[in-house]
Structures are given as structure tokens and as C-alpha cells.
Amino acid sequence: MEHLPQIKLEVADLSCSRDDRLLFSGLNFSLSPGQVLLLEGSNGSGKTTLLRVLCGFREADDGQIFWSGQPITESTFFADTAYVGHADGTKKELTVAENLRFALALSRSGKYSIEAALEKVQLAGYDDNLVQTLSAGQKRRVSLARLLITDKILWILDEPFTSLDRQGITLIENLIYEHVKQGGMVILTSHHDLSLPQMNLQRIHLDSCH
């Protein structure tokens, strides 16, 4: 991955409310290649909402988001962003390989092949299994494999550690580490205490953003 160094995500004075309740306001941050942003906050503090605003799924009440200096809707932001949310985004009636091939058809292919990615997330040999036969943790691994086979700079991960075993958690930490080392960016929410050592980590506590 050779990305231009000026790629940068900037969020200026963002505010968002839900059902007349202010979730956060005056939120400012910027993220450069090689950095990880960890969103913290109590339940209902707006972590998921912020991620969905960043993905363009919902509009912020106020404020702007820039990607390499341009508003995200006018930039290559959506081609550069991958999202793993609460829903896995996989079809349960399709096999693991069919799901990943479809994900590949929607975006640029990355440096991992489907087999290599499955091996990386410890699902080697599951290509022909229907997703509905997998466990919750394995489904999560499939959506992580999707991150590997596509070429995206910014990963937006909503509670990526849910339903993963300890091995899986280490796996994600390694994936994040590798991605960041190659000039990627990661924004994630988590209730786990991340080890993530020797990483350029920013923390934002949403409860204090009012």
C-alpha cells in the first residue's frame, strides 16, 4: 500500500443528538496514517452514532468531516473506508467464499487473496461452509477477513471484540497493528482494555464531549 502522505481525516466541531438528547457536541479530532483512534464512553454515549456519521449513514446535526482536506461526500472517502458494525454484513445462506467474493466485487482488491485472508483469521478450510453454520465469533472473523481482501485505508470497527475468544482478540490487535504499520488508520470502539502497545493511540471519551 503506497498512499500519499497528505491523507488525513479531520472532524471539525461535530455534534449529534438523538431523540432530543444531545449525544456529543463540539467534537474535534484528526487522524493521520499510522494512527489509531479509540472511542470510549458509557452505553448510549453515542459511540456507534459517531461511527455511523463517519460512514455517512446518518447526518450530523452540525460540523464537518474532511478527508484529505475535502468534505467526505466530494472525496474518495467511501472508496477508502471499510466498516464492520454490529451486523456482520454477510449473507447467511451463502458460503464464506461466496460472501467474500461478493465483497471483493464491490471494491478494490487488497493484498490478501481470499484463501490467505481466511488463513489469517484462522478460518482456513471453511470456504465452502454456509455462514449460517458458523458460530458468532467465526462470523465476526469472516467480516474481518473482508477487511483484509479489500484495499481500504480507514477501518471503522464498532465493537470488533464482541463474541471473540482471547485468541481472536489478539488476532484483531495484530491485524490493527499490521494495518497501522503500513500506513492505515483505524477508528474503533471497545469496552475491552486494549493492550495495543507501541501504537500511536488517541483516545476520545464521548461522555466528556458536551
Binding site: C55, G56, F57, R58, E59, T76, F78, A79, T81, A82, Y83, G85, H86, A87, D88, G89, T90, K91, K92, E93, L94, E98, R101, F102, A103, L104, A105, L106, S107, R108, S109
Partner: protein, 224 residues
């Protein structure tokens, strides 16, 4: 990958999904066949009456079958998060949505097309009306899928959107119903149907061009 590849990939995926859920997918078709076959039983053995009613019966049943199949268009994608992935794709959402509609028509509209002549024969529709029946189905069932897609996209985020969906979509289906059944009716009496066919053709072309855009916009709203 390119937009064309993404377009075909989405059609291929939806057809594969339909094949894996074939019992569910056969429902609207079964409904169509049942409604049409129940009419002679309820009306009684009056061949002339059935013959006059045939165009209307077939078209009303086809329309209700299409309405029945609509909800599945975006429901599962909405629930399992695939829709979010489509929204994040760098490709134009309206083209991807058009791919989904094409797949939906192939699964729900095409079977109606194949079975309708058989049922028309069963109701005693004169043979000379068959080509017209076919033509109206070919032109108008895609319109039902295309217009319906806007309604589904608007209601997919609601927990009980079924009722609103019917209320939204049925009024828009009525012109299709009027021109299509009228065309078959006239063909059965040996009258020319060029005007009706032309109107259906223009409805098809207009909805093909105009519906994907609002459908995509409505989906973006629903995901919010």
C-alpha cells in the same frame, strides 16, 4: 472492480440467494396460481363469464403476487448489514439497486410470465389474446418491481411497514393494471391494442430510468 462487474455480481448473488431460499421465493408464484384457480370454483361453471373476467383476474392476481414478493427485496439486506456495505461501496448505489431489482424481477416476475398463459387458457381466454397478454406481462411486471422498490426502500426501516407499503405502492400500480388488463380485454375482442402497449412501454422506460435514483435515496434514509 468496475461498476459493470459489481452490477453483475449483485444480480448473481441475489439469484444464488433466491435459489438457496427457493421455498420462500416460490410463495408469490403459488399465490398467483391459487388465486386464479379459485375463481372458477367460486364463480361457478360459467365459461362466458370466466372468459370475460380472465384478463382482469390474471392481472389483479399478478399485481397482488408482485406486492406480496416486494417486502423481501431489501429486508434481509437491511437486517444483516449487507445494505450498509452496499452504501459504503464506491459505486453508484442506484446502479447497484437496479441490479437488485433486476434479480428480483427475474425471480418473481419471470415465473409469472411463464405460467400466466397456462392459467389464461384455463380461464378460457381466446387464443388471439395470448400474445397481448404476454406482451403486457413482459412490459408491466418490471414496472411493478421498479415502482415497488421505492416503496420498500422507504418502509424497510419500519418494524411493521407492510401496511404502509401497500398503501404507498398500490395507487401507483393502478395505471399499470388499467392499461394492461384493458389491452388484454381488447385483444380478446379482436380490437387493436397499440395505444395501450405504447403506454405500457413508456411506463416501463420511464420507471427504468426514474426509479433507481429515489430508491437509492430512500435506502440511505432508511439506514439512518
Amino acid at each position: 472492480m468496475s461498476l459493470t462487474q459489481a452490477f453483475w455480481a449483485i444480480i448473481r448473488r441475489d439469484l444464488l440467494l433466491a435459489f438457496r431460499r427457493r421455498a420462500e421465493m416460490a410463495n408469490p408464484l403459488l399465490f398467483f396460481v391459487m388465486v386464479v384457480t379459485l375463481f372458477p370454483l367460486a364463480v361457478g361453471a360459467q365459461p362466458n363469464l370466466l372468459q370475460t373476467m380472465a384478463p382482469g383476474v390474471i392481472w389483479v392476481s399478478a399485481l397482488l403476487a408482485a406486492l406480496l414478493s416486494l417486502d423481501g427485496l431489501f429486508r434481509s439486506d437491511f437486517e444483516d448489514g449487507s445494505l450498509e456495505q452496499l452504501l459504503l461501496s464506491p459505486h453508484s448505489l442506484s446502479i447497484l439497486v437496479l441490479g437488485k431489482i433486476v434479480a428480483h424481477w427475474l425471480v418473481t416476475g419471470l415465473p409469472l410470465l411463464l405460467i400466466a398463459p397456462l392459467l389464461a387458457l384455463f380461464l378460457g381466454l381466446p387464443e388471439r389474446a395470448m400474445p397481448t397478454l404476454w406482451l403486457t406481462l413482459i412490459l408491466a411486471t418490471p414496472v411493478l418491481s421498479l415502482i415497488g422498490a421505492i416503496g420498500v426502500a422507504l418502509t424497510v426501516g419500519l418494524r411493521r411497514g407492510g401496511m404502509i407499503l401497500s398503501l404507498l405502492v398500490l395507487p401507483l400500480y393502478i395505471p399499470v393494471l388499467i392499461f394492461a388488463s384493458n389491452a388484454v380485454d381488447r385483444a380478446a375482442s379482436g380490437l387493436p391494442v397499440t395505444a395501450q402497449i405504447n403506454i405500457l412501454l413508456s411506463m416501463f422506460l420511464l420507471s427504468l430510468v426514474l426509479t433507481p435514483l429515489p430508491t437509492a435515496a430512500a435506502l440511505k434514509m432508511s439506514v439512518n
